[in-house]
Amino acid sequence: MLQTVSEPRTIGAAQLAAYRFMLRARLLDDKFAALYRAGKIHGGVFLGRGQEALSAAIGVSLKKTDVFAPLIRDAAGRLAFGETILDAVRTYLGSALGPMRGRDGNVHRGRPQDGCLPMISHLGAMISVVNGVLFARRMKGVTGLVGAACLGEGATSTGSFHEALNQAAVEKLPLVLVVANNQYAYSTPNDRQFACADLADKAVGYGVEAHSVVGNDLAACLDVVSHAVARARAGHGPQLIVANLLRLCGHGEHDDAGYIVPELKNSPLGRDCLKLAEEFLLQEKIADRAQLAVWRSEAIREIEDAVAQVQREPLPDPFAENWTALSTENLAEGRE
């Protein structure tokens, strides 16, 4: 594993930048949870609580010209990659003006034209799509590019994960595959999901470089993720990152997560990455409490403004809706 030698000042700056995305993501998630409880959101709400450090580290390690396939717990990484709070709110509230126009909702959002791929629900399915984008850009002569795909440990059990990782290795694609091992896939604990000691061990079988990291330690996540991204960018092929952490919420907001055992909650994995990051910033005197409070209230205002704006926006109108799934309009059947 890499020994990063950076100046403390730059480490502090990177942490600060990542922290602010973490904070905004946490507060945005909190708002979605509140709206869900108030019955203002149709369908499910899925939070990234406890996974913001890892997710933000991915987002800040990517360039805007890279490709990113976030998953359900990546509000922080999305913001860091460039998704707006407005896009997130519009998708959750079904605004006709959002990127998904009410056709898809919640975490199923993205802008492929901007390199942010919109997840489908089927786990593992996004990885090979990232491969395809990387493959095509290489064909087009674009170099120096990286693609990151996120997934949970549960999704490593899909055939899609194995097929796509092998494919990326065969093609030597600059794929960074980030597994957030949050100890549970919905209710299923790791011992019913996989039997290897460390998920990072999967990499060797595919001839892929692997990295492990403590997922609630922002400094460690920044180190490891930026290193893996740099390795991929430099032509060393796919990189598998496995982050160990704990989901600090239910699978979705409908779920009380009663199955998460207290031993895990009380273990170091159960520590909140956002609090840890704040402690670090205070301790290193990168920010003081007053400054943290300002950032928090700024973020809350930004989120509240977005929600207030979106709540006044038009909802999708079935009579104005173009009821076809084809772009080739003259070949679309059955339009009314």
């Binding site: 056709r103 089927h122 299923t188 996989f194 079935p318 799934a325 009314e336």
Partner: protein, 321 residues
């Protein structure tokens, strides 16, 4: 006492586990958690070692079930959502569905698919994919519309020596209730007259039975007597009951929540026009979901799927021709 559609599914599984030691349940989160919808609640505790959490590996889940069936067991597979069964599609339609035909070894697996639209569920948690399974030889596809059928048809599915795709509609899970579980039932393959009428036949299945019944109630206030046929199983399809109904009414409207291209409604109309052309007083019609993925927002979703209102409107049009 009253029992919901979902509880009936749980009770049927409990009874199957109790009465037949060859039965086991395998699927994501079905164990201690009791399943994403709680259809296997407490079953792991009641039947230790026979209700097992699976990894997120639909292909391997179905493959394991086929292997166990070859060994004489009777697995019940729960897909977390029907939509994800496409990941296990190959094992269902190429492995399970061909086994008996190729080898004379039976493949008694039951694959439970929580399917169909509910508000806010979006394109990947709403799909109706009964027709793609029904297209393949070697599988049975059932679509219970009532609490009683959910119970008895699941038991029948487990007892059947062929792969059964058990399509349980999520929209019916909680609000559909019955007083008690049935002690007898129609066999798989027999349709049911859900409401008698003489002016028009609506053939439908699963959640759309209830939309059709509501439409029939509405049309009754206008003086029309609508007959509603609940298919119960879409493969095999009970052509006799359908034709007999059309013989009484002379008009056929076929309603399905699935997409319009091909599918169950097209199959019904093809059979009625081929075998009962002379019985029809008007061209048979069908009403399906629109030909797009299932939209997330309720405004769009309500317009995407047939509802009692659109069923009534389609019936009115047909009654006027």
């Amino acid at each position: 006492m009253s029992i919901t559609y979902l509880e009936a599914i749980r009770e049927a599984q409990a009874r199957a586990l109790r009465e037949d030691p060859r039965v086991f349940i395998y699927g994501q989160d079905v164990g201690a958690f009791g399943g994403a919808f709680k259809a296997t609640k407490n079953l792991q505790k009641e039947f230790p070692g026979r209700v097992l959490d699976a990894p997120i590996s639909e292909d391997a889940i179905v493959g394991l079930a086929v292997g166990a069936a070859i060994e004489g067991l009777r697995p019940i597979i729960e897909m977390q959502f029907a939509d994800f069964s496409t990941v296990g599609f190959n094992q269902i339609v190429n492995q399970a569905a061909t086994l008996f035909w190729r080898t004379q070894v039976v493949c008694p697996i039951t694959v439970r698919l929580p399917f169909g639209g509910t508000s806010g569920s979006g394109p990947f948690h709403s799909q109706c994919i009964e027709a793609i399974y029904a297209h393949y030889p070697g599988v049975i596809v059932v679509t219970p519309a009532t609490v009683e059928d959910a119970y008895s048809m699941l038991l029948a599915a487990v007892a059947t020596n062929d792969p059964v795709i058990f399509c349980e509609h999520k929209f019916l899970y909680y609000h559909l209730k019955a007083e008690k579980l049935p002690s007898e039932a129609l066999p798989i393959g027999k349709a049911r007259i859900a409401r008698e009428g003489r002016d028009l036949t609506i053939v439908t299945y699963s959640a759309m039975v209830h939309e059709a019944l509501a439409a029939a109630t509405e049309l009754a206030t206008e003086g029309w007597e609508i007959e509603v046929v609940d298919l119960r199983s879409v493969k095999p399809l009970d052509t006799d009951t359908i034709i007999a109904s059309v013989a009484r009414t002379g008009r056929l409207l076929c309603v399905g929540e699935a997409w319009p291209w091909g599918g169950v409604t097209a199959e019904v109309i093809a059979r009625v026009t081929a075998e009962g052309y002379g019985l029809l007083d008007a061209p048979p019609q069908r009403l399906n979901a629109k030909d797009t993925p299932v939209p997330y927002h309720p405004n769009l979703w309500a317009a995407h799927r047939p509802t009692s209102r659109s069923v009534a409107a389609a019936a009115r049009n047909l009654l006027r021709t």
